[in-house]
Amino acid sequence: MDLDKVKQTFILEARELLAAMEEALLGIEEDLNPGESINAMFRAVHTIKGSAGLFGLDPIVRFSHTVESVMDRVRSKQISLDPTLVSLLLECHDHLASLITSTQEGVEETPESHEGSQRLLNQLIPYLEGNGVIESTPVRVAAQPSGASEGGWNECWHLSIRFGPDVLRNGMDPLSFVRYLGTLGKIVHLASVVEKLPRGEDYDPETCYLGIELDLDTDADRQTIEDVFEFVREDSEIRLLPPHSKVEEYIAFIRAMPEDERFLGEILVAGGCITTKDLEEALRTQKAETLEDGVIHGRLIGTILIEDQAVPPPVVAAALDKQKKFQDRQAQEMKVVKVQADKLDRLVDLVGELVIAGASANAMAVQVHEPRLLEATTIVNKLVEEIRDNALSLRMVQIGDTFNRFRRIVRDVSQEMGKSIELELHGGDTELDKTIVEKLSDPLMHIVRNAIDHGIESLEVRRARGKPDTGSLSLNAFHDSGSIVIEVADDGGGLNKAKILKKAVERGIIREGAELSDAEITSLIFEPGFSTAEAITKLSGRGVGMDVVRQNIDELRGSIELESYEEAGTTLRIRLPLTLAIIDGFRVGIGTASYVLPLDLVIECLDLGPFLESEENHLINLRGEVLPFLRLREIFRMPGEPPTRERVVVVQYGETRAGLVVDRLMGEFQTVIKPLGNLFKQVRGVGGSTILGSGEVALILDVPQLIQLASEPSSGLRRRPATHLPPTHS
């Protein structure tokens, strides 16, 4: 584990924390009990600051420190979290995010980022007014500062330590400080002071009665020595005498101590700080005041007591036990392993290969008619199927995170536009392939911006139309027959068909006077170079239009439907496949070639004969429902004669159904989708390819396109030379 990797962890972690912070900030205005949200925000900034400090990322530390302080004041209810502060904190969030991004790119601080920090800090400072920096308690030092070296000759620091009674209870081992002093220099002399040690019955083994007098030969400065006792100085008395102090200072030092003077004096003599003569002299002057003799009784057990930190057998208290059970449950809820996305991709790739290899083994087993082998390969295939599902589910992420980002966007954009808009989110727990979610975020952003900008009307218009002042925008995700649907609905003005037609004519997309159905008119907005905004606004008029959105969705093998009611609103539906990599396929044969249909889209299979309604109009009658059909043999210009008994596969996509006429039905199998090369990009009706167990290549049919072609035979494939495909042969 090296530091660079940890830094990557830090960046990931910081991103997650920032996302949590943003979510909390956005939710806070509606939150009835915002305490937990505020705490979560505080913690996010706090953690980022803490970790950034470890990496020496000072700009982040400086900035987050102030943000944290402000949040702390919010947390302690010293200031209230009003909308202005929420906005400011959101800006701080953005700035932190950009600082994190710079860190990732290896840039520590640019003039711009510094300026950004400064600007926000200036805005934050008013919230901190009246909050002084609290200094930590200094060590109580009895002696004067060093420098009074006149006449002194001792080379050592003299330290006098009286540990507080609670030192042991607070988890401090007096010996550890002595040991640490040993790393700073040489302990020349040490004596224990155990005067405070009580008699047997009063003795409490958890209380510390120890004092230490020691002489330390070191080059360390006063601060360093004082800092050794940083953790005990609040409870304990610590006095320092620098080297070369005058004899009088030592004498004064002795007098200041609570213990008997003679005893201390002897220690100092033993340590070489003063001579016996000095001591005698000093004591003589004190004689009148000293009543008792200076003999100390008692054993030096303090050190021994602390050294063997007696640990009783681990008896877990009942309370702890109960707590532990609760923790176990909690721990299970939190077990999440982070894996790099490319490792997952590799796994899914390999599973894809495994699926193909499994199918190949199975095909061979069928050929050799060996029942035991067949049994074995069947089991293997079943397992492979489970592995496939599991591997794919690893890539699934909830769309909720993407949705949540829109709360921010809607808030910002609606403020900018001066529109009041309420965003509703549904189905955030719907899972989608990670790749799809990533690629979906841009088009979705565009659609949402469009809805706010062009969809929802200005306040005056809304009032005139009798709508509530606050516009409503909803994002909804759900499963629907093998695909995921994402809906963006607004209660705005809807699409103005006349305006669209006019614009389309202006742009030369359609001819003047062309007769178009409503659906055709609405779909015009997806044509390249189309924009209905009268004035190009800052938000959505960026030259890229809905055509880019459509293109993005197409790349994900998805589709867009648009439903619009004038003056009542627009609903845009994006339909996406569950996954991009592996699907359950249904294999059909035409001539010598085989094709694959996504099984999810297959409704039923029939014989063509009894259901044929009209050969001329390509219609079948499915129990009273008339459906269009397509002969794949014709579409793909397959040579040879069709069999006498043709089959129909009824497929459904969204609301529409159609029949596909094929020669043979070959059953279900797992299909690993391989993309087709650029050469085939223009070909309609095929979406990809796959490798069969036998090693053959089969084309995967693009059912939505085929349904569309079946429904409007005039624009059928037969007219398009580009669709002339070589059939795949075995």
């Binding site: 584990m1 940890v6 803490g50 970790s51 400090g53 609290i134 681990p314 309370a319």
Partner: protein, 122 residues
Amino acid sequence: MAKTILIVDDSISLRQVVSIALTNAGYEVIEACDGKDALTKLTGQKVHLMISDVNMPNMDGITFLKAVRLNPSYKFTPVIMLTTEAGEEKKKEGQAAGARAWVVKPFRPEQLLVAVSKLILP
């Protein structure tokens, strides 16, 4: 036998950096992501020093400290609290719970190492 240190902090990166620093200095390190996790990990373990963040989800550092002191095995184990200057209130609360060793966040790994070695040497 190397001395074992438990580090409790909800930041993975902080734990990892601290872990690296302490391991390089010759200590054994156990990581925990919050107070509850820490209490679980302490069971059946001999830990010579604990380093704990104050503000954590699920169980904060102060509650952890109080809980850990109930366990006779850890009644006298030194604990270093990681805190921020902003946490003066918490500090008082922590002192009431018996915390005396504080390292102020943000800190460099070396600073923490010094603090640790004042309490235990590897």
